[in-house]
Symmetry: C2
Subunit: 331 residues, 2 copies
């Protein structure tokens, strides 16, 4: 079977304790000579420490669990990339668990997996935990951090400031002369959607612009939600601009607008939120509020690791507005 510390000890004519210390790089408990000998033998025998065994005794783990919604959106990949890179840097490993959207049982199952394994902490990606499952998470007493979704202000999270996203997106369109602006595709029950809408409304209010109810179209961030919203706006909407709350929503809006023969951006401006690669592969390319998903993942790991000191805080990452072809200045 796999070679253990004992095998090396035998081969080096030395105790397993010393081998353990050397291979764990403990300080000042052995001579340089034995250290070198042991390392060579370990190398030659193809030794790999059984980390699970080590974790069992130290009662520490270097595994970060990432629970991710089997998301219909498409930015998760970038976040995971950031998480991975960060984990490598800090010497942690990642366990990825996916969870079905809007399925509390699936959430519970994922949390139970975590309960059964030695885990350092939990990262929750775009995940809207039910109250009950949130309690289950808290009961584990593990450090945790929400990424990209701010689950109200009860829990620690890292994300863009969604109120600001809604506010800035709207302000951008107002600055371009638009006065009839819609927003589409966000969920109405989750914090993230509420914040974006709140920012949207605030910007309009400050400019003394009014809104019709039908201009705010809720959805689930999918392509289909974008299509549906555009159909609600109809083939000849009063609107001259709409904010798509995800890239897929915006592409849905775009395609449906084209089907209505509404020229984008001449007749209708579309400003997308997210700014993934998708914005560049459609025509016209989508102007977008671009979030830094990679950093969200990267800093998410950092924050989790150092969390002890600053619990229950919001960490906001900057975003930027990138204008491409789907928005235009009104005369």
């Amino acid at each position: 079977m796999a070679v253990t510390i004992k095998d090396i000890a035998r081969s080096a004519q030395i105790s397993a304790v010393t081998v353990s210390r050397i291979l764990s790089n403990k300080q000042g408990h052995y001579s340089a000579a034995t250290a070198e000998k042991v390392r060579k033998i370990a190398q030659k025998m193809g030794y790999h420490k059984n980390i699970a065994a080590a974790e069992l005794v130290t009662r520490k783990s270097h595994v970060v669990a990432v629970i991710i919604s089997a998301t219909k959106t498409n930015f998760a990949e970038k976040i995971v990339e950031g998480i991975e890179q960060s984990a490598i840097k800090y010497g942690y490993n990642i366990v990825l668990l996916t969870v079905e959207p809007n399925n509390p049982q699936s959430q519970t199952r994922a949390l139970k997996v975590i309960l059964g394994r030695p885990i350092y902490g939990v990262l929750l990606l775009s995940l809207d935990l039910t109250a009950k499952n949130f309690r289950l998470l808290q009961a584990t007493e593990l450090p945790y951090l929400f990424i990209s979704i701010g689950v109200s202000d009860k829990a620690s999270f890292i994300s863009s400031n969604d109120f600001q996203i809604g506010y800035q997106a709207t302000s951008f369109l107002i600055a371009k002369g638009h006065t009839k602006i819609g927003i589409a595709g966000m969920t109405d029950d989750a914090y993230i959607g509420q914040q974006r809408v709140a920012g949207f409304k605030q910007a309009l209010r400050e400019s003394k612009l009014s809104i019709q109810d039908n201009w705010i179209q809720f959805g689930d961030f999918t392509y289909e939600a974008g299509i549906k919203a555009m159909h609600e706006y109809g083939p000849n909407p009063e609107l001259t601009a709409v904010i798509g709350t995800s890239d897929l929503v915006s592409i849905g809006l775009l395609n449906a607008a084209n089907d209505f023969n509404l020229a984008v951006p001449q007749r209708l401006s579309i400003l997308s939120i997210d700014g993934t690669q998708l914005t560049k592969i459609v025509r016209p390319q989508l102007s977008s509020i671009t979030q830094d998903f990679y950093q969200m993942g990267y800093q998410g790991v950092q924050t989790l690791i150092q969390q002890a000191n600053h619990k229950d805080k919001a960490h906001y990452l900057p975003f930027k507005i990138i204008e491409r072809g789907s928005t235009s200045q009104l005369p």
Copy 2:
């Protein structure tokens, strides 16, 4: 700290052995009465088995490691979804490790992580392992299975039959009257690209159609590779049809063709390979060879678990041709 078997034993006034047996559902070693009592206490105390400890003594693991290329393509998500669902069904957990494309060191690092942890087996997703890393993988003596990429015929894999994909795609276009057909975006060094090109050539040969060198444009399956290929074909190509070897490649071809004012599909037919959601969000929608990525993941886990019996075999999954708006019949 976490509640253990001993805590339960104490509370139930019984030995830890019996508790262990009950909570592991061993047969006929205890009375129904004690079993029920123990289960109730476990429930009440919020007990969760330390699986790492159990795996240490049984020397068995129910963790499947999935090594995935931090892919520029976009179908990985579906495969992972299939893997997850299948893993749940069979009672396995998934550890996901990402690896940078074309980075042998990154591959080695991922394999080392696996070596240090109790793992049942390894699934490799769209991953072109270097010869050295492949040897490292074999040295672990763990069962493994390649998914979606057939790494030559040396290793077990599950994927579509890429020769057939190339062959059927080409035959489809020939049946539509095309005689000048290109293929674009695949790598030239990996098995998958070679197979698709071989199938492509075979179909042309059988129909006695000739090819110009420049019609075969290699790449790395990205959007940019599609753009570049189209630029190589030029603004007025002889070609009337081209096979994009991934959805992103095909979208690159499509956009570049539009920039050249080549109408798709009237002047140029594009047939995509993969058939992810992307084919439906561009205009015209892309006709595609659609692979069953979900099943690839789902059956990948099954195959890995049952692998003992049928090693080193190729498992092919069916694909289908779905015609959308990017292909047309030639007069």
